[in-house]
């Protein structure tokens, strides 16, 4: 008799209890599951984007070091030309991210970073200037010191390295679009991750 009564009670209460427990478990597990899922997706996305940036920057460095100016030029190639050359490759991987040139045109309409216009140092600097989810392509050139008459006891060329070819640096820096929720990532408004990839090479000079 008691066994039958027990059975009735169990039929009435157990489904409620189990349903509540399942709901609680679900509520605990779902955010964790989503966190892991989004984390894994973002890591994959970030790797694809960074990989595209690395190869694009390498290509840009080769372009910047060998074209756009004469072999004895003391001026970096126009950043807009370099941007145009590699933006197709970047656009295919950096979806949701705007790609811009980092330059200010001078009186001649040229866009060539020099000593007065340095590349941005941090992704936050790009965000402050151009807004969220923007990466910029910056081309800068480091020229060797001018050669002068060597002081007594020193050999020409003087100073050391004055006859080096200039060094070109191409940098892709800013924030790329991602799935990071607002408040969790280093970006100001969320949905972005910082990126800073650069490549440096000496310019190619042809035999006279």
């Amino acid at each position: 008799m008691g066994g039958e009564f027990e059975g009735v009670v169990r039929l009435r209460r157990t489904p409620h209890a189990r349903g509540g427990q399942a709901l609680l478990e679900f509520a605990v597990v779902l955010p964790l599951f989503l966190l892991c899922l989004i984390g894994a997706l973002d890591a994959g996305l970030w790797a694809v984007q960074t990989s595209a940036e690395v190869s694009a920057v390498q290509q840009a460095a080769m372009i910047a070091s060998s074209a756009g100016s004469s072999p004895v030029s003391e001026k970096a190639p126009d950043a807009r030309a370099v941007t145009a050359a590699i933006s197709g490759r970047l656009h295919s991987a950096l979806f949701g991210t705007a790609i811009e040139s980092w330059c200010a045109t001078d009186a001649n309409g040229d866009c060539a970073p020099d000593a007065t216009e340095q590349c941005p140092v941090t992704p936050a600097q790009v965000e402050a200037a151009d807004g969220p989810r923007v990466v910029v392509i910056c081309v800068s050139e480091a020229d060797p010191p001018a050669c002068t008459k060597p002081p007594p006891g020193q050999t020409s060329p003087w100073p050391t390295g004055c006859d080096d070819s200039p060094m070109i640096t191409v940098r892709v820096i800013g924030f790329v679009a991602s799935l990071v929720p607002p408040g969790f990532g280093p970006g100001a408004g969320g949905f972005e991750l910082p990126t800073d990839i650069s490549a440096t090479t000496h310019t190619l000079r042809f035999a006279p």
Binding site: A43, S51, V54, H202
Partner: protein, 210 residues
Amino acid sequence: MRRSRRRSDDAQAVLETALVIPILLFLVCNFIAVMVQVTVQEQLNSATALAAQSRFQAPESAIDPVGTRCCGLHAATLITAGLPTGCRYAAETFYGTMTTYVGLLHWTAATLCTSGGDSGDAGNPPRQPVGYTGSPTNADVSCDIGSITAAGVVVRGYVDRALDPPAGLEVVTCTASASLDFSNTPLAWGVFWTPTIHAQAEALPPPFRQ
């Protein structure tokens, strides 16, 4: 009886969660670590390839004068006086490109400039390159290069006999190795391996070299 069964169910649920969450986080940590490794490998490949090509941006017979040194950043200062200028160009390019993730890398020290490597074939045994006299041995990249000394002596670089056999072509080959260490990152919680990454790149001299 009923109470103890419910307690048992609760305990089982807690146990399941306690087992699943660390496993899930462990998998995510390792997934992220693999992605980081792929990215660093890409960058190392790029830096090594640019370094090899950069060797040819210097005049072939140029020698670094006394007092020449390079390169800043994470490298110790490398004294390149007496070495082919192209060797310093390669180093400057490598260090200038390998600027990110350096905190995760433990480099394998190498001789910056070597010469005389040979890939070998049926009639020629392969040869390991030897270091240039005076070449720094604490570099993160090593380039096997050819040049002409100030005295006009031809120094052989790396001969790749797979290219234009059997005489081969003199190319520049640069290598770099490092281990990736996650111990100072949050990933150290679930990543217990330290992968070694390696990159090698060859470059051919351009036809109109200075």
